[in-house]
């Protein structure tokens, strides 16, 4: 018993209260089958409204022109691309958790991966909006950006342009993570199907679960497919944001033209992604009372990851400054001094505080394990990460080579509503997800229980 206690101490259980398989199913499936709490309805009302606002803003944008935003010359990209990079970043945690941690056999990922993957998809969906709608003529961009043969013109895309790489990177990422997510869902959908009462439910879930019967063969194929997809998505986690960072790294603009961007962006992405997972997880855990599956250990681990990636990001900021000075390039130097002390100093210091200073609190176990604390911090981190993209994009553009062309960017209400709307869309999708799909992978949690109970002796 003692050694068990120590073992518990060193490696706290990932599922509390030793539930049986049935308990897991009852708990998780119950959420989907039961009525939603009132707060859910209130939430979706708000987010739904915001989503409509997004639709309205985009319609206004397309019919009137990019001029409805604050973009100008020299600041050709502003909140549009900032939001794009931000959302793509958010998308990273999901795949990282489900794929990389899976390959590394990080067992603690199980009860949060479904959740995180869903989030990935929705974030990518939000991100996808901006590259299309930031163009002056989206009705053309929508098919000229894809390599569709064009018999009337006989001209192709410019494959030297990072924006084209983006198109491929993002669409691939979206596809693979969708597949990965769905594959993981199949056994759980089957469970839901089996519990389904109404015929309609039965049929829909039946179709979705692709006739899963849980036979050994099914399980073998399933495990294999899941492993393969995990392997597939792993490089994507790194590639997507690397390529997004090329949009900037490949340019000649001081502050963009930097070799450090790929690792720096990936770290930042994971950083913000985890922050978003924590934010949402903390709420869901509270509302649907999932404390026994999403334990403090999960949360703490995620906070540790944030601390680590936060440090990487902070290091990247420092490196940028050092190189700017070390390179002896007058324009480079100016840009970084300008970031910290120019007209956009407020954005820069917001970013530094939120991304570098505040996460340091996670060194303290007390903070790391305090739900309110991590909730606030994770939100601040996302604010900081949004500002990071804003700082990189806007301050660099606003003052580049010729002082005569310097200009200051001011957002318009449309800019703001569009950003708010993208959050609306994201959260709406998320709320629908928790309403209709098991937000925790029952299959894997059951696997965990088996494993846990294995070394704690008794079978459930």
């Amino acid at each position: 018993m003692a050694d068990l206690a120590i073992a518990q101490e060193l490696n706290p259980a990932l599922v509390l209260g030793k539930p049986g398989y049935a308990d897991v199913t009852r708990k998780v499936a119950g959420i989907v089958e039961g009525r939603m709490p009132r707060v859910w309805y209130i939430a979706i009302a708000c987010t739904g409204t915001l989503t409509l606002a997004l639709a309205a803003m985009l319609a206004y944008l397309v019919t009137t022109g990019i001029g409805v935003w604050g973009n100008n010359s020299p600041v050709g990209w502003a909140w549009d691309i900032t939001n794009f990079v931000f959302w793509i970043g958010i998308g990273h945690a999901g795949t990282l958790i489900s794929a990389i941690l899976f390959l590394f056999r990080q067992r603690w990922r199980t009860s949060i991966n479904r959740f995180a993957e869903a989030m990935t998809l929705f974030a990518v969906a939000c991100a996808g909006i901006f590259p299309l709608f930031h163009t002056g003529r989206p009705w053309r961009a929508v098919y000229w950006l894809f390599p569709v043969p064009n018999p009337a013109l006989h001209i192709w895309q410019n494959f030297r342009s990072p924006l084209i790489w983006d198109v491929f990177a993002v669409s691939t990422y979206a596809t693979v993570s969708a597949l990965f997510w769905y594959t993981g869902l199949v056994p759980d959908l089957a469970t839901l199907r089996d519990r389904a009462k109404t015929r309609g439910r039965k049929i829909v879930l039946g179709l979705l679960s692709l006739g899963w019967r849980g036979s050994a063969r099914h399980w073998r194929h399933y495990e294999l497919a899941y492993l393969l997809l995990a392997g597939l998505s792993t490089p994507l986690v790194l590639s997507v944001h690397t390529i997004v960072s090329f949009d900037f790294a490949v340019s000649v603009i001081p502050g963009w033209h930097t070799t450090i961007f790929p690792p720096y962006f990936v770290a930042g992405a994971i950083f913000s992604g985890f922050a978003m997972v924590v934010t949402l997880m903390v709420i869901a855990r509270q509302v649907f009372n999932l404390k026994q599956f999403v334990t403090m250990k999960h949360l703490e681990n995620m906070n540790k990851v944030m601390l680590a990636t936060g440090l990487i990001v902070g290091f990247a900021y420092a490196t940028e400054f050092f190189i700017a000075w070390y390179s002896g390039n007058r324009y480079e130097r100016f840009v970084f001094l300008n970031r910290a002390f120019g007209p956009y100093w407020w954005a820069y210091w917001t970013m530094v505080c939120c991304n570098v200073f505040i996460p340091q609190l996670f060194w303290l176990k007390r903070v790391r394990t305090s739900v309110p604390a991590m909730f606030v911090i994770s939100i601040l981190i996302n604010v900081g990460m949004w500002f990071e993209r804003f700082v990189i994009i806007v301050t660099s553009l606003s003052r580049d080579y010729l002082p005569s062309s310097w200009g200051y960017f001011r957002p318009t209400p449309v800019d703001m509503l569009t950003l708010a709307g993208s959050f609306g869309l994201f959260l709406t999708l998320f709320l629908l997800f928790v309403r209709f799909l098991p937000m925790i992978s029952m299959t894997e949690v059951k696997g965990m229980i088996a494993a846990d109970s294995a070394h704690s002796g008794d079978r459930p």
Binding site: P151, A152, L153, H154, I155, R193, G206
Partner: protein, 215 residues
Amino acid sequence: MKPLFSKSADKHLRIVVSAILLTVAAAITLSAYLFRPERADTGYQPAQPVPYSHKLHAGNLGLDCRYCHSTIEQSAYAAIPPTETCMNCHTRVKAESPQLQLVRESYATGRPIPWVHIHKLPDYVYFNHRAHLDAGVSCVTCHGRVDQMAEVRQVKPLSMAWCLECHRNPAPEIRPRELITKLDWVPDRDPAEIGRELIAKNHIHPPTNCSGCHR
């Protein structure tokens, strides 16, 4: 209890799904084929306000294109002739013909004849007749055998891809300068060969960059 799905459900599902995918793919290819420029734009043959027959004038009577379209060698535009030009002959020939009513009116009142535009390029394309004729590109290259058309119709797609084909390989379409309006000209040897010689002689290098046609 009775199973939700029959044994064959799986099979059916696969069939249905693949069928859907196939139809979508087919639809795309088909529309791409149907609306390819060659089809979409060629064959346009609107009714003209005056039943003017190129077949009669350019073909049977053998009028040179430049008798009416007199500006092609000086200007970017192949101007439609003023009513005057028609009346040069038709004050005497068929002076009473009811078909020429509109022409006579126009000549009397000075109100133009509303000819219908057939060979139309987009506004952002700056095609220059003069340049092409100087290079020895015949009318027939773009307009076809107008001298055999009672009613003119568009026979070439006039799409960018189509233009580029020739701009990248002009030789087959280049002929001696003096033969440009001889629509029925049949070269005695390989036209490309003749073209190559002329290209070398007159230093013809058609532009293939954007500003060649777009400004």
